[in-house]
Amino acid sequence: MSPKNLLVSSSGEDTFVRKLLYNRAALAGLIMLLVLVFIALLGPHIAPYRPDRFVAQPYQPPSASHLFGTDGLGRDVFSQMVYGTSLSLEIGFVSAIGITLLGTSVGIISGYLGRYVDEILMRVVDVLLVIPSIAFMIFVAVILGPGLESILLVIILFGWPPMARMIRSQTLSLREREFVESAIVSGTPKRYILFRMIFPNVINLVIANGILAVIYGIIAEVSLAFLGIASTKSYSWGTVLYNAQNEGAIYHGGLLWILAPGIFIAVTGVAITLIARAIGDITDPRYNALGR
């Protein structure tokens, strides 16, 4: 078997999902993620209190009945976190979908069409990448007004360029491959080459990075909230942090209150990284180097 043989993925073997389930790290990640989704869906049944009820003295330290303590109005922080999980995950997934769609299409189109199309799109990417994004995000969010939609829009707007870059460079190298060139010589239309030949060869990269974009979205929302841009109508991990910040949690010893969003983010982050890395491993051609 020549080294080239090793590069070939196997099309007659285990399905992607089965391989993922066989991978221990991925399984651990999936279970963690499932627990989070479970919390998000069943939040009202899990949380000990309503998030907006005054249930105790303000600024209570953590205790058995209030795991993360209470906030400045005596509301249970743990319950707020549980309620917030739903919105945070939603923001993560929606922005990941947006980023993936935008990043992938721009990347493929730019890489395949090349010339001035590439030139223009990559200039846009460059600009978006050099702009100090948080500052600009705040600016845009302020203009759009502080709603969930504008937060999502801002996150997606600044989230897709790295993805587009990566997909573009992958597309560029695919375009030079002999199988694409022989398709051109066979009179194959651009559409077919893009969707049937290039896309299937970047899909794994798209999935792995799309999953990572979830955590990007969640963190971006929390960072925005930390800087004072949050949707205050409903609870998210960002709003908890926003409140902690606003109500001076630090001065009242509410350490876990401030850390709570970080803990949840860390768990989500670990879960997602485990899954993304396993996907990377699985789609690494060497993983499939069995027989020909």
Binding site: S2, K4, N5, L7, V8, S9, S10, S11, G12, R177, E178, F179, V180, E181, S182, A183, I184, V185, S186, G187, T188, P189, Y192, R196, M197, P200, N201, R292
Partner: protein, 327 residues
């Protein structure tokens, strides 16, 4: 030069510019090919063979000059003319391991030109035609549902030829079709090309660095060095009495049969003699081969020698060529 020739290449130049250097991978080359020509383009790595092949099928755009197909520029003119060109001139590449999309099976791979160049076929018809194509390159129909990684290199190269044949081309361009294959598979591929050319009255141009392959398959040989054609002659004439010093070096390096090698004691002796320093030919003025040439004279420093007729349809670009019979 006649306009009605099948393919005419006129003053073709392809320039690649990078930070370190500018290279004319093809440097003012003119050739014309007939429909039934069987030619070989030989030269060492970097001579510009692949670039020429890519130009001939329209994958690389010339920096200047033009390529005419039946008298019409392949990059201009009507869509129908260009489509006819695509159908008539097909290509196979060097690396069979890379010539197929790992995610598509052989049926999909073979049906692409049928769908896009030939057109309008039902599913069953498409399948039958693909099976026919496989048969014409000596493979079985049961390969249709397999994926590229399930095939050996030789089988892949056969499938690639089968695909090139789909549009019933009049001319096939093969860029190093056997350099990645073992001897037996290589012989199979070259025999197949020769047989197909006979059966279908098809011409071909084989790009190779191996004079053995060239002499086995071609009637005419075109020797390239650093983007220039340095010699172009009939195969028998060229291999018996090369005129350009570079052609004779290529001939010395061509593999001989095992018996001959042991007989003449060349098997283990240094076939090249002393180690010549590697030079970047593009950095030289005048003839780019002069640093490596043992026949260089002072004019060689002045300008690249023009490609002059030698009579009998041969051309050579050298100020001090080898005479007939001299090696």
């Amino acid at each position: 030069m006649q306009e009605s020739k099948f393919i005419t290449v006129r003053d073709l130049t392809v320039r690649f510019e990078s930070r370190e250097r500018t290279v004319n991978a093809i440097d003012n080359v003119s050739i014309s090919l007939n429909r039934n020509d069987r030619i070989a383009v030989v030269g060492e790595s970097g001579a510009g063979k692949t670039t020429l092949a890519r130009c001939l099928v329209g994958l690389t755009r010339p920096t200047s000059g033009s390529i005419l197909f039946n008298g019409k520029d392949i990059h201009r003119g009507r869509h129908s003319d260009r489509k006819l060109f695509r159908k008539s001139v097909q290509v196979i590449f060097q690396d069979p391991y890379d010539a197929m999309n790992p995610k598509q099976n052989i049926l999909d791979y073979l049906s692409m030109p049928l769908r896009f160049l030939v057109g309008n076929m039902g599913r069953q018809e498409l399948r039958n035609k693909c099976a026919e194509l496989l048969d014409s390159v000596g493979l079985q129909e049961d390969l249709l549902n397999k994926y590229p990684h399930q095939l050996s290199g030789g089988q892949k190269q056969r499938v690639a030829i089968g695909r090139a044949l789909a549009s019933d081309p009049e001319f096939l361009i093969a860029d190093e079709p056997t350099s990645m294959l073992d001897a037996s598979a290589a012989a199979g591929i070259l025999n197949l090309l020769k047989r197909l050319a006979d059966d279908r009255e098809m011409g071909y141009a084989i790009v190779t660095h191996n004079m053995g392959v060239a002499s086995y398959t071609a009637d005419k040989i075109l020797v390239m060095y650093s983007g220039k054609i340095v010699e172009q002659r009939g195969t028998d004439a060229l291999i018996s009495s090369p005129m350009h010093p570079y052609s004779s070096v290529l001939l010395q390096h061509a593999p001989r049969s095992i018996g001959v090698m042991f007989e003449s004691g060349t098997a283990k002796s240094n076939r090249t003699g002393s180690e010549p320093a590697e030079v970047d030919p593009w950095s030289l003025s005048g003839c780019r081969y002069r640093k490596l040439c043992d026949r260089a004279i002072s004019v060689c420093e002045q300008a690249f020698p023009p490609l002059l007729d030698t009579g009998k349809e041969g051309r050579v670009a050298c100020y001090n060529p080898l005479k007939y019979g001299q090696k």
